[in-house]
Amino acid sequence: MDVAVMLGLALIAVGAGLLGSLLGLGGGVIIIPVLTLVFGIPMQEAIGASLIAVIATSTGAASYYVDQGLSNIRLAMVLEVATTIGSVIGALIAVYTNQYILAALFGLLLLYSSFYMLRRPESVCLSPTGPCGPFDLSCTYDDEATQKKVEYGVKNLGRGMLASTVAGGTSGLLGVGGGIIKVPVMNLWMGVPMRAACATSNFMIGVTALAGAIVYYQFGQIDPVLAGVVAVGAFIGAAIGTRTSHRFEGDKLKRIFGVVMIVIAALMFLKSFGVIQ
């Protein structure tokens, strides 16, 4: 790999890490299409590199969000039981699956993601604090925008666990963080405020991707130079994103990103049918 390609890949990974840290995602929805469509890298290799970038985005963003008290660590750890199981199963399916089928599945994921970005309203109804099933997952954080302390409880843990298994499966199968499923589930079903849902998702995706990344590493499907370049880019992007998040208009960003993803989904479908390489 020559230096110009390395720098180009690193720049794209900076963008992925930036958006990922702002929206609670891992950035895989950007990295995988670019690697496969622009650089012609096989799907499995792109997924392996993306899982590494997801861990980098999560590590970079979560260290800041944990310090700010925005990540609900206890909720994250409970949901991680489900996401890691899903991730291992997804990764095992992926290493034996044809890359054109993976491209088509990725296209479907992007269509769902764009629907979520363009349509889903944020739930602002906070759950009352107190136990949720066997656990008390209530949490508080200081909201910078309103200068107020936000206190919330968590509800519907069973549904959240089920959805987290699906999110984990998507992560292992398609090399994304699964935040695109976890963030709306936490916000709309479990009553977690949007900022806390994004920060908790960022915290979780590292462990979710870890389970899948280990399987890919063992199967020799990670190109070290490619993965190293995207990891460094994602670290830088996440560091910028977490420290400048208050300057971005979340809703506007989501709408632009939603439209871009529809275009990328179309390209992934063309690839899955062999129209483009």
């Binding site: 944990v66 750890m77 990670i222 070290p224 130079v225």
Partner: protein, 112 residues
């Protein structure tokens, strides 16, 4: 300022930052070395193979060390959370942390 944070947040933040900075340093050093002296190795190496590669002048060994450290960071974060929950006698969350570790151990045992 961080000393006012709850111990769980403080410990986890420390592990994540240490993992991020050390893996970033190894990756950047390895990639700069690779840019100056490219290598033909295009597959991941285990720990002892990576160290041998570094000693024989292959930059991919250093990149693989950085990747292994990066992958290990979320794992270390779970172990630190487990230790903190044990210290705080939050037994339900001790059980949750052990369950996550068991799933990851299963992933490690799966060989290609």
């Amino acid at each position: 300022m961080s000393s006012n944070k709850p111990p769980l947040n403080r410990n986890i933040r420390f592990v994540l930052q240490a993992g991020m900075l050390s893996s970033l340093a190894l990756l950047v050093a390895g990639l700069v070395w690779y840019a100056l002296a490219p290598s033909g190795t295009d597959f991941t190496l285990g720990l002892s193979e990576a160290i041998n590669a570094i000693l024989s002048g292959d930059p991919v060994g250093l990149i693989c060390l950085g990747l292994m450290l990066l992958i290990a960071t979320p794992l270390l974060r779970i172990i630190v959370a487990l230790g903190t929950f044990l210290q705080m006698r939050e037994w339900k969350f001790v059980a949750v942390s052990v369950a996550v570790l068991l799933v990851i151990a299963t992933a490690v045992l799966i060989k290609g």
